[in-house]
């Protein structure tokens, strides 16, 4: 055991993109190794939960926790890592606000399992469903239990910092790593607890180079099937760009590339419900008075939950659909 400060990273309900983003920092990852003792990182190295359980409380300096809390195993590890870590960072959209896995909160757990095991995607003539435990001669074996709703990390444990993004941009991760190292060397101070780190203070529009005017929207369109002006704000062209409501920090990657911002950096500073903000912003600039006309324009957004809550449902004021919520 070295006396370097200890580092951990964990994935709960997530896609793995966050881990790749960390590795994407290229040679920066060597700084992590140089400055930290990596004690727990299931994706990168073998470790047992019992090893973590054996650690002293607060002995891990920095834990990057990605993924939402979907199973009792996720919940257990979240609590465990909270107990063992000095600084717990909700890393990436899933841990921050639920992200795409959080959209499953529109259904209850039974419906989710049913969809996974007994719809077009799965040929299941014998109606075999997974069991949470099974007795074998060696004893009982278990798989984690699915919880009624997916929760964000801070709905389960106390979180020190929030680092948004799906995944967080590598240059932002690098900057955060740098910061922590500087803090270790006494050259910088940590931001106040509860801060969002590795992101900007404004919204994506702030970093977007597209020209913008007073907005009036007469229809919502998809990016295909029409000529897109490369220099003009997408929203003004009827493309439902979420950049207006999404925290800055990504350098406006999507709108710069010609695709609308879908909101992975989450709500801006101080915003409690991302989707509600976006709905009221879009509604404010729709240029129509007649109910029929308004309906026609809104029909241009075929999937409102996906448009407005793709990343934020679990972390929003809504949190979940009725069926899931009632079982939670």
């Amino acid at each position: 055991m070295s006396d370097k400060p200890k580092f951990a990273m964990y994935w709960a309900a997530s896609c793995g993109g966050c881990e790749i983003a960390v590795l994407n920092t290229n040679e920066k990852i060597l700084d992590v190794d140089a400055n930290f003792d990596v004690v727990f990182w299931p994706v990168a190295m073998d470790a047992k939960y019992k090893d973590v359980e054996a650690m002293q409380d607060g002995s891990i300096l920095l834990t990057l926790f990605n993924g939402g809390i979907r199973t009792d195993e996720n919940e257990h590890i979240a609590k465990l890592l909270r107990q063992k870590s000095k600084i717990l960072v909700a890393f990436g959209s899933c841990a921050n606000e639920g992200c795409v896995p959080g959209l499953a909160n529109l259904s209850d757990a039974r419906e989710i399992v049913h969809t996974a095991f007994n719809t077009v995607s799965t040929d299941n003539p014998k109606q075999v469903y997974p069991m949470t435990s099974y007795d074998v001669p060696e004893g009982e074996i278990c798989i984690p239990k699915i919880l009624p709703t997916l929760k964000t990390l801070d709905q389960v444990v106390d979180v020190d910092y929030y680092m948004p993004g799906c995944p967080p941009e590598s240059h932002q991760i690098a900057a955060v790593i740098d910061l922590v190292i500087q803090v270790l060397q006494g050259k910088a101070e940590l931001p106040p607890k509860g801060s969002v780190i590795g992101a900007g203070n404004s919204t994506v529009c702030d970093e977007c180079q597209r020209a913008r005017n007073v907005k009036t929207i007469t229809s919502f369109n998809r990016i295909f099937g029409q000529e897109i002006d490369p220099d003009l704000c997408l929203l003004e062209q009827g493309i439902p760009c979420n950049g207006v409501a999404t925290r800055s920090g990504c350098n406006a990657r999507c709108p710069t590339a010609g695709a609308q911002c879908i909101g992975c950096y989450g709500p801006a500073e101080g915003v409690v419900d991302y989707g509600a903000r976006l709905v009221s912003a879009f509604a404010s600039v729709i240029d129509a008075k007649e109910p029929d006309e308004i309906d026609r324009i809104l029909d241009g957004i075929p999937d409102p939950a996906g448009q407005f809550y793709r990343f934020n449902l679990a972390g929003s004021l809504l949190r979940a659909g009725k069926s899931a919520w009632e079982k939670a």
């Binding site: 913008r212 929203l235 101080g270 912003a281």
Partner: protein
């Protein structure tokens, strides 16, 4: 800052502070509240259950707004050292000011007081006493959570420019302008037509006293025209209004008259010599002619004519210039251009009046198709001694005197197909017409009415007079006016088909002339005007007053007042009264020299604003501008009325409102949901 609610079910962002000392005051409002809400229980509950939130006293009282009620609060503030006050009573619209003032009197910043409504939002809308009491508790708890997060605010001070703009030179605008000018302050009176006078200048007699309209109006018009404190801008339109109470900048287009005002003596030779006759749709209601260069009527103020370039032969064909040739002072100037004037004023009175309901819309009454069906304004011109027939009441042929005349009330008014409202003046105008027809022609007169509305001073007496004169009153809504006879006695007549609801039968009454007592409707451009001045219109299109009973001449935009029919149909006395009332308000403002405006304002956090421009078009008071250089939006604090529209719309959460911050509103919701209530105390 976290963007989530954390592990607790709480919504609010900031940790609430428990160190405030809060007084909760629950009003009975007589039985208004106490009849449905157990006020005593609410007060006791607040003191007990919200103690941990800082509530140190909970009281109830019969009328909190009375001076005794206010003294109660003031005394507690001093003796109990309260730092926050929650009053649970009526709507903030009514008494917020009262209670804020009480706090101020006791040395507490007035914005540390929160008025929550348990009357409009609780007792008036519920009957179940237990449920209403529970809801009142929740409302109080919301108020407590919110008031904890209030900050002391200081009102903003702005100087008042002493000049005033009056828009519209009808009787209401004239009255307003004269009151202000007589008090010694300068007025700009902007009128779109060539002369002031408005509708009243078109009438012959005015009900109920039958004074000659011109006799009472023209002296006032002359006064306006000659008043040293009035700048009269006729043939002009307001194009733009910027600024805010005390400091409006108004852009006026003074349309080219093609007549040099400094040279013109008003001799009228140009009008005489002008060969081009044009049907006068405005002043003569289409019954008479004017020239291409004209004053609408001899007593017009100002006296200078205007040239109607659309109809002028010179502008049409390139030759003529008769006016120029004959003008003794060389006052005609074909090259004159529109002028754009910029005026600085502190207050604005809007008195743009009404339009006549378009009687063509009631197709079954045949106006426009049946020549001898007249509108009310046409009849005014017909009966006017200075009108196209010199006051002879004759049929459309210009010579035949009618022997029987039908007057139809409520045309276009009180009718779901057209306007739902009552036009107020049509019954009286119908009676006036009956009298004039009777007096001048001796014809038989029928008045067809649904209900006779003759409220106000001396109006019903006038009705009785017309009854005594022998006018025949038929109660019922006219179904149709036709010239197709069914019986020999109907030949050559107009027939009024009506269900006589008093006689209980259908009647067909042959007459020679029908006068439609057409109602009033908002100016065709009322919505645009409202938008230009940052006001709103009701669904009917009349301008909305600040309070329908208690403040009928103010608007929601400070410094802008409305007077006369622009606010809704009314007669001349009420228009005059409103004109004078608006002037009194303006004078009050001017004399304060400086006013304080509510500090409840929105502001943009420049660091957070991304310049997305979502908010740019939303402010009903045009308070938001965009700084192109810095790429951020700005709120002009003096223009902002704190409506909250932009605060809700800004997707970046960059705009916040003093007194209605996210934190305040979310914690109020949290309070409403009783999330901060401890386990119930078991008695």
């Amino acid at each position: 800052m976290t963007q989530h609610g954390g592990t607790s079910p709480k919504l609010a962002l900031s940790e609430s502070k428990g160190e405030e000392r809060i007084g909760v005051y629950v009003c009975h409002c007589g039985t208004n509240i106490a009849g449905v809400v157990d006020v005593q229980e609410v007060a006791e509950w607040a003191a007990a259950q919200l103690e941990h939130r800082g509530v140190v006293i909970g009281r109830e009282y019969k009328f909190m707004c009375s001076s005794l009620g206010q003294e109660l609060i003031e005394k507690d503030i001093k003796e109990l050292e309260l730092t926050r006050v929650v009053v649970a009573a009526c709507s903030p619209h009514l008494h917020e000011h009262t209670f804020r003032t009480a706090c101020k009197n006791a040395g507490l910043n007035p914005y540390l007081c929160e008025l929550v409504s348990i009357r409009e939002q609780v007792s008036w809308v519920h009957t179940d006493k237990a449920a209403a009491t529970a809801k009142a508790k929740a409302v109080v708890s919301g108020g407590v959570e919110r008031v904890i997060r209030h900050a002391p605010l200081e009102p903003l001070r702005v100087p008042i420019h002493p000049d005033t703009l009056v828009v519209g030179g009808g009787i209401a605008g004239i009255q307003s302008a004269l009151e202000i000018a007589d008090a010694g302050y300068h007025v700009y009176l902007v009128e779109r037509e060539p002369s002031i006078g408005g509708h009243m200048a078109q009438f012959d007699k005015t009900f109920p006293t039958l004074d000659c309209s011109a006799c009472i109006l023209t002296p006032k018009m002359v006064q306006v025209g000659t008043h040293p404190n009035v700048t009269l801008l006729t043939w002009s339109e307001v194009e733009k209004v910027d600024g805010f109470v005390g400091n409006f900048t108004v852009t006026v287009r003074k349309k080219a008259r093609k007549v040099i005002e400094d040279l013109c003596t008003g001799c009228g030779i140009c009008q005489e010599k002008c060969p081009k006759k044009v049907i006068d749709d405005v002043y003569e209601a289409g019954l008479g002619y004017r020239k291409a260069v004209y004053t609408p009527f001899p007593q017009a103020v100002p006296k200078y004519p205007v040239m109607d370039v659309e109809n002028c032969t010179y502008f049409e064909k390139g030759t003529c210039k008769a006016c120029e040739k004959f003008c003794p002072t060389n006052a005609i100037d074909f090259k004159q251009q529109d002028e754009i004037l910029t005026l600085q004023v502190g207050n604005i009175v809007l008195a743009t009046g009404y339009d006549l309901f378009d009687a063509r819309r009631v197709t079954n009454y045949g106006y426009g198709r049946l020549p001898n069906v007249f509108t009310s304004l046409e009849f005014e011109r017909l009966s006017n001694a200075a009108g196209p027939t010199n006051g002879n009441i004759v049929l459309r042929d210009g010579k035949t005197t009618p022997k029987a005349v039908g007057i139809v009330h409520c045309v276009g008014s009180r009718d779901r197909n057209f306007n739902n409202y009552c036009s107020v003046i049509c019954c009286m105008q119908g009676l006036k017409f009956a009298h004039l027809v009777h007096e001048r022609t001796g014809a038989i007169v029928y008045n067809f009415y649904i209900d006779m509305r003759t409220a106000y001073k001396a109006y019903d007496e006038f009705y009785q007079r017309v009854l005594e004169e022998g006018t025949l009153f038929v109660r019922g809504k006219v179904a149709e006016i036709t010239d197709v006879p069914r019986r020999p006695d109907e030949d050559g007549h107009l027939i009024v088909q009506v269900e006589d609801t008093l006689a209980g039968k259908q009647r067909r009454i042959p007459v020679d002339m029908v006068i439609l007592s057409t109602g009033l409707q908002p100016r065709y451009d009322a919505k645009e005007t409202a938008k230009r001045f940052g006001l709103s219109c009701s669904s009917d299109g009349w301008f909305i007053e600040k309070h329908p009973k208690l403040d009928p001449i103010s608007t929601m935009t400070e410094g802008i007042y409305i007077a006369g029919c622009v606010q809704g149909p009314k007669d001349i006395p009420s228009s005059v009264a409103q004109g004078a009332a608006a002037a009194a308000r303006v004078l009050g403002k001017i004399q304060q020299k400086e006013i304080s405006i509510e500090p409840v304002r929105a502001s943009v956090n420049q660091d957070q604003c991304s310049g997305c421009r979502i908010c740019n078009n939303l402010c009903p008071y045009n308070a938001i501008s965009f700084d192109e250089d810095r790429g951020v939006s700005l709120v002009n604090a003096a223009l902002c009325q704190g409506c909250g529209t932009c605060v809700a719309a800004c997707p970046a959460g960059a705009i916040s409102g003093t007194a209605f911050s996210n934190d305040q509103i979310l914690s109020q919701i949290e309070g409403l949901l009783l999330l901060n209530i401890d386990e119930p105390v078991t008695a």
